[in-house]
Symmetry: C3
Subunit: 446 residues, 3 copies
């Protein structure tokens, strides 16, 4: 017998996802230094930067504005905060703490002040970390009137007993809460959500990385020739942004969303992390676990009780959206978290790119994850369809065995993700087999 | 920032259940020596003693009388048995075995006899325990005509070959089967059953303890200002008593009972024990396991196959009532079981009181075990409701975390017992949080 | 008290199944040498032998004939193959390979040839096993035109470079595909299937054993005085036979079949094996596991992914028949598999008889596996029904305990197989108790 090709049953495909490593990091470098808070001009400049990047592929980000005072479920949109300057000056006129050097130096939403006071009077408005003496902590007081400065503990210890002039030139007044929204339509109205946060000032993993990865995922999704699902990308100030979005779009979102991901802390190289939905088992959980188990089987599997970002809102009773979180090193789980040490050196092109690739694989899995039903009764006669290898090798026997097992369970009751679990095969390999059988009309899609 | 109280979120309550230790034991001392059998005047005197104790708080025990010969399912109420005297006299006129010394000496339901016989003729009517030579066994022959004496093996060995006069002055004839019933009404018609046995003569753990604990639980339940559930206390001769009750009250009992407990062997200090319902998982099982795991995590967990008291009847096919059993040391599992060594020294105030406390906690858990549903969409804004600690400490962070987790799962689908399992928190702590949120109208009760 | 019998509650029965050891092996000896293929006269002679054996008890095998070219789902009945002679002759006129010596020597469905050729020309039509040099392999080419010879590797190495005459006198042309079918009716229309394969030429375990065991099971089932179920025995050429049967009988078979077994590889003494249905848990799986766990707890438990016989067709999507496989040593799992070493020495009377007994016990279990419901409320009064031992011994206490546990769960929701699992009792013991309670009208059958 002459050796013959085994036709459509060659090697299984393994992706072809090429993360835009350097573009991700270049974007991060531009995005990082903009001063952001829950509201205000810096947040709008950040959205503008994202919109410009998306426009390079013709995608148009919508910037939504919700007026201050708008009721959103149990919450209310706060006033808009502007800040021009913030410093502490010593008796010699030297600025010992200056917001212009690092925008973490001022407590977010600080009230204006221009006053002289002793070090002991000033002390209860200072925040530093004795256990991390070179780090400036990140502190906000969105809903309780307050003013304050954050500084390294080394700086704090160098302050001497004297009169300091404390200046914060800020205003808080009616304005708007902004968020960005991009919808990339697909053949089906069913939606996939990618949500990230844009309220954090100069920090890297949490949170320059999320907007960077989400922006470049959106560009990639927009560039796909054919999309099964509609994709919604949300760039939100944390908590109130998600609540404002949900309060305006709840019914439509509940009706359409099949899977969602909170895309934050996706920039460093130390770990991959997974945080499930409230009860687990949704399509979002299943897709993320399938991809992480294949690509990064040593990922850290958190509990929903460890949640801390907008998946809190998405998974609330009555909201109940299937939103899980795929991260690199999770918020709260690394020493630099919420300090100035979470900077551009903590994240990297490979850190951002690795996260991008996991998300791209999740999207690819969603697109290919159909239920299939065999069109014949009893086993199909594979040779008739050109699917039976004429030369039997270990590799061809394995392919035939996997195909026959796939056919045996292709009764339309389980999707390919479930069958990959059942058959203990990589999703991509199974999807390749299913698509071959579909092309031969041995399978129909449900 | 000045230190502030964290309002309603102080320390979780931990009970306030103070067992009436000495009252329980005093009652047991009075109850123990009364001669009881399945029917007859001793059983009525026992019910009278229980009724007197209940009347001290104004509760009125109903004493039910079912005539001999009444058909009850596959059974029939037996004739009523009276006994005045029972002894074995030797040739010298000395009473070598005398029912007046210990009422276990006569086999329950013995037929009358007055006859002289040799030791060998007597022998097949004597019962003793060679392996426990100082114990008088407890023997009955309710449904097979018979007469007999029980004695210690030491006594038996001391009997010599001679003529003995054997006297039992008993009568068996039409009468009634009695049982006691107390209903303490609550806001809801749904009932909780506490069932115990009153047919055993002078023994302590099995069964002076059950009537004692049930009587004082009834007094406590009667004294509660407000009751969600209706409580039914049954004081029954074993087996036929439960069958007679069920045959007269089955439909109503099935319609109303949400949880029941067979309260027997609740007097010693050696162990806590749990015996589940037939298939487990009922409210009775869940409440008892929650309380035992918290208060006495080293309790012994028996199988339904180890059953032996009236939970046999309550769990029969077609009856199917959710009756579990919470005990101290279980019947059949201690060497003194069903002998004269199970006496007033085997039980104690602390033994009875410990059981009382477990039952009181079970009742408290039942009363507080609601399903709650959060009234807001997305997370509530806790500070607005005075529920967010202004000073963040480990303790306050834990309380907030527990509260947010409770809120996340408060969609009305699971009761607090299920949520305590899910959140791995003590039921009481969760119930406190839920009641606070209910008072703030963040939760509604279903 | 005098010793009394404990009536109906004596020792539990343990079968009474006496395998026809020697008859099974005698039949195998007659069946083995017939030359068989997928179609043709040898296959019909094999069916004739089975029919004669069945006729000794009055059972009449129906021989079905499906014309060549008949479409069966995705398949088509092939032409009928006849073969008269096949040999390779060397230059000296000596037949170095001769089909008359062993009917495995010719590749099944070989095309006719009469031609001289060099050894190198012949080589690609020869099949041998270097790793098993004394074995003739079993090879077929049903659906791809081809001719070839199988020989031992020792023979092959002895061939020298010369001209060989190659002769195969075969014809392939329109005819029929035959299979045999025997239906033994029972009180119920629900069917039990025993399916085996008749297309393999001279091999023992795979597959002289299956037709032998199936034939003698059919004789035994036919001889039973009373049958609950209807039994269908199928003697099929592998794959196309099952597909042809299913394409003609699918709706009726799906409507009636409660359990089925693929009875192949049931002749050796090395192991017992179990291969489940596609999703497990059917009555066929449960019966087989119950019997194997009791009789041969060291049986090998395969996965459905290890399947390889007609259970492939029976378990296909849309067919979905509950057909499991009980075997001795499974196909593919012994070195002699599909070679001339799988001969009459590999199988034995005890090997065949052991398999027969397991199948007989499976059938007995099916016949007795009812759902029972207790007719009384609360526990029945056992002494009233003569079911309470008057002398209490360990054995009698165990019987009463098992009986009370059976009664406690006899609410009609689970069959005896499920209750045997629950009560951790042998099925036969439980069935004896249930039948006693049924005779006493304490149980009704559902």
């Amino acid at each position: 017998m002459a050796k013959e090709s085994i036709g459509e049953l060659a090697q299984p495909s393994v992706g072809g996802f090429c993360p835009p490593y350097e573009d991700l990091y270049s974007f991060a470098r531009k995005y990082f230094p903009i001063f952001r808070s829950l509201t205000g001009p810096g947040l709008r400049r950040s959205l503008q930067l994202i919109a410009e990047e998306l426009s390079t592929v013709g995608a148009r980000l919508e910037v939504v504005a919700v007026p201050s005072g708008t009721a959103c479920f149990d919450w209310c949109v706060p006033d808009e905060w502007h800040i021009d300057d913030a410093y502490i000056e010593d008796q010699s006129g030297r600025k010992v703490v200056d917001f212009k050097n690092n925008n973490l130096h001022v407590v977010g939403y600080s009230q204006p002040i221009d006053s002289s006071m002793s070090l002991s009077e000033l002390d209860s408005h200072l925040f530093s970390l004795p256990e991390l003496p070179q780090a400036i902590p990140y502190i906000t007081s969105y809903y309780k009137p307050f003013w304050g400065f954050c500084l390294t503990h080394a700086q704090r210890l160098s302050l001497t007993e004297q009169k300091y002039r404390v200046v914060i030139r800020s205003t808080l007044g009616p304005g708007v809460l902004n968020y960005g929204e991009l919808v990339v339509p697909g053949r089906q109205a069913e939606e996939v959500l990618i949500s990230t946060n844009i309220c954090h000032p100069a920090m890297g993993n949490n949170e320059t990385s999320g907007p960077a990865v989400a922006t470049f995922l959106a560009k990639w999704v927009h560039s796909l020739k054919d999309r099964r699902y509609t994709y919604r990308f949300l760039f939100l100030p944390e908590t109130i942004g998600a609540i404002a979005f949900l309060s305006r779009n709840l019914q439509r979102t509940k009706a359409n969303m099949v899977a969602g991901f909170q895309c934050v802390c996706v920039g460093d190289d130390r770990a991959y992390s997974f945080l499930p939905t409230k009860n687990g088992g949704t399509l979002a959980d299943r897709v993320a676990l399938s991809v992480l188990r294949e690509l990064h089987p040593d990922f850290v599997h958190y509990s929903f009780f460890d949640r801390g970002s907008d998946e809190r809102q998405y998974n609330s009773p009555g909201i109940d959206l299937p939103v899980a979180s795929v991260m690199r090193t999770k918020y709260g789980e690394y020493p630099e978290y919420h300090t100035s040490l979470d900077d551009l050196d903590l994240i990297s092109a490979s850190g951002l790119g690795g996260a991008w690739e996991v998300y791209a694989r999740c999207i690819d899995t969603l697109e290919r994850n159909y239920k299939y039903k065999v069109t014949t009764l009893a086993e199909p006669k594979l040779d008739k369809h050109g699917l039976y290898p004429t030369v039997s090798t270990k590799a061809s026997r394995d392919i035939v065995k996997n195909m026959m097992n796939l056919i045996a369970y292709a009764d339309g009751s389980e999707d390919l993700l479930a069958l990959a679990d059942r058959l203990k095969l990589p999703f991509c390999e199974l999807a390749d087999l299913a698509e071959t059988l579909h092309a031969k009309e041995i399978f129909e899609r449900l």
